[in-house]
């Protein structure tokens, strides 16, 4: 057999793994009712493909071939184990006689399998960190080592987290199913939270291995797309829109030297127009459903910003209205703070400052650095230099992120020289 044929098959198998392993694993777990057995079976099926396809050629439906080969491999495995553990024989027999319904699967059942897998990996009974790790490994097909690198954790720690989560799934008998309609809204919430956590892990970091971190955002968007395809609920679309619209600004939000650039100062020609167009379209679909929630509202705000040629041309009244709606859907002091900043843009710094001072007086955001830096910024605009300085200094003592520290220090230096006039 020529080396080149093997090489070719290896390459197409790598691509197939990336694109289809989530689907194949999802179906095998349903067929075999065992996470670990299914994973072994899938690995064995890919190994068998590498052995056979260079001679036999790539089958017409590679996914179906891999699923049915995996199923037979699992039956083989159980048979071999039965020599030492008789109970395995019964399981093997049962698997063999069961009609292989949905092995190849009309697309409907296969798509349901993927949803089952996502809901199982994001089950609320699992620790939050474990949900993220499990989803990236089982649904996205990332290796333990890749996930560990992206999250700046050691591979052994992450491996243990995954082992424990799988044990929990087995021992707590977490069902392999899409939740009932009554449970669905809450369970979707848990899934979306995992996806957004993955996205933010890749988006907010701007130091260290920034390249692998950006890959995490791409992975989250891929997951978001998959979810929209499988479960086109308004908030699912809203989250994908939000991620796309934030991601569209990636190139503009850091300077070539790695400094943070605020929305107001960003070079908007660097924004990714394709991502914006896709995001805006999704927001419109979600909004028209009238069943939207916090993700859609945040995406809608991001869309308003995306449509403005500069900060001054932004439709601030609409942003303020959207924050008002968000405060009803998901009230929090941080949302209130953001609304105050939007009010300042609409009605002037004085109006915003009044709201922020009232908010700080309540004490909720006393230790939140962005509240103090927002206050500082409004004071600066009003020419109240001394107040601005002490607020920037307070913010500086509260933040640990290096780019933010540099940004605040820069603002402080600028205050030192001039008279506080812009």
């Amino acid at each position: 057999m020529p080396e080149s044929a093997i090489e070719q098959v290896r390459e197409s198998l790598d691509a197939l793994y990336r694109a289809e392993s989530g689907r194949i694993l999802a179906t095998l777990i349903r067929l075999l009712s065992d996470f670990d057995l299914a994973e072994d079976a899938m690995q064995d099926a890919f190994a068998a493909a590498l052995d056979r396809w260079p001679q036999d050629g790539v089958p017409a439906n590679p996914r179906a071939w891999l699923v049915s080969t995996g199923r037979f491999k699992a039956i083989d495995t159980l048979r071999r184990r039965a020599r030492f553990d008789a109970s395995q024989e019964k399981i093997a027999e049962q698997l063999e006689t069961e009609p292989p319904d949905g092995v190849v699967g009309e697309d409907g059942s296969v798509e349901d399998d993927r949803l089952r897998l996502i809901f199982t990996c994001c089950h609320p009974a699992l620790a939050a960190e474990a949900r993220v790790a499990l989803t990236l490994r089982e649904v996205c097909g990332l290796t333990t080592e890749e996930i560990a690198r992206a999250f700046l954790t050691g591979a052994p720690t992450l491996a243990q987290r995954i082992v424990r989560a799988k044990t929990k799934i087995r021992e707590a008998r977490i069902p392999y199913q899409v939740p009932s309609p009554e449970e669905l809204p809450e369970r979707i919430g848990a899934v979306l939270q995992v996806v957004y956590l993955v996205f933010n892990e890749g988006y907010s970091a701007s130091s260290g291995a920034s390249l692998t971190r950006a890959d995490l955002s791409a992975e989250a968007i891929r997951l978001g797309r998959l979810l929209v395809e499988l479960l086109p609920e308004p908030e699912v679309m809203g989250l994908l829109a939000l991620m796309l619209l934030q991601e569209s600004r990636r190139a503009a939000r850091t300077s070539p030297t790695g400094e943070l650039v605020l929305l107001e100062q960003q070079n908007r020609s660097l924004w990714n127009r394709l991502q914006i167009a896709e995001g805006v379209q999704l927001v419109e679909r979600a909004l028209s459903s009238r069943r939207f929630g916090p993700y859609t509202l945040q995406a809608a705000m991001a869309a308003v910003h995306s449509e403005a040629v500069d900060s001054g041309a932004t439709d601030w009244p609409q942003i303020v209205a959207l924050y008002g709606a968000l405060m009803q859907a998901a009230p929090s002091p941080i949302v209130e703070l953001n609304r105050a900043v939007a009010v300042a843009m609409r009605d002037g710094p004085e109006a915003g400052l009044t709201l922020i001072d009232a908010l700080l007086a309540r004490g909720d955001l006393e230790n939140y650095h962005l509240a103090h830096s927002a206050r500082a910024d409004l004071c600066r605009r009003l020419g109240r230099t001394a107040e601005a300085r002490s607020a920037y200094e307070r913010a500086l003592t509260l933040t640990r992120l290096e780019p933010e520290r540099r940004f605040l220090e820069k603002r402080l230096r600028e205050l030192g020289v001039g008279s506080g006039v812009k």
Partner: protein, 132 residues
């Protein structure tokens, strides 16, 4: 990706098993190794003779000198190695946790280090030295 699995065992533990138990364990291990082999996960492996059969080579006072044994104080000694072909660390853990050998002693699983870059660097240095 290759993972080196270092199997540790108390000296004499295997030898001191009753014959039927020892045979059963041996059969289980061989069966499982065959299973690994069949699915392309077994990339090599050897059992080791006891530590009393070992010679240790060390650089001392400008030359290599030999002593016997590793003189380790630990109860468990390296008893064998298995080279595993697995997709990632969790896959390796999964494969080895079903290995019957884990019942008699712990396995340490270490990913093989990729020295490709260093080896290529060395090749370049040596090639450059030759042309000088």
């Amino acid at each position: 990706m290759k993972y080196i699995c270092l199997g540790y065992i108390e000296p004499g533990k295997f030898e001191n098993l009753a014959e039927t138990e020892r045979n059963a364990l041996m059969d289980e291990c061989c069966t499982y190794d065959d299973e690994l082999r069949k699915n392309g996960h077994f990339a090599g492996g050897e059992a080791l003779q006891g530590p009393q059969s070992a010679a240790t080579l060390r650089w001392q006072e400008g030359k290599a000198s030999v002593t016997d044994g590793p003189y380790a104080e630990t109860k468990e000694q390296l008893g064998g190695i298995l080279i595993l072909e697995a997709r990632d660390l969790n896959h390796a853990i999964q494969l080895m946790s079903k290995h019957p050998g884990v019942k008699v002693g712990p396995f340490e699983i270490r990913p093989a280090a990729d020295l490709g870059e260093m080896v290529r660097g060395s090749e370049l240095r040596r090639a450059a030295a030759k042309t000088k």
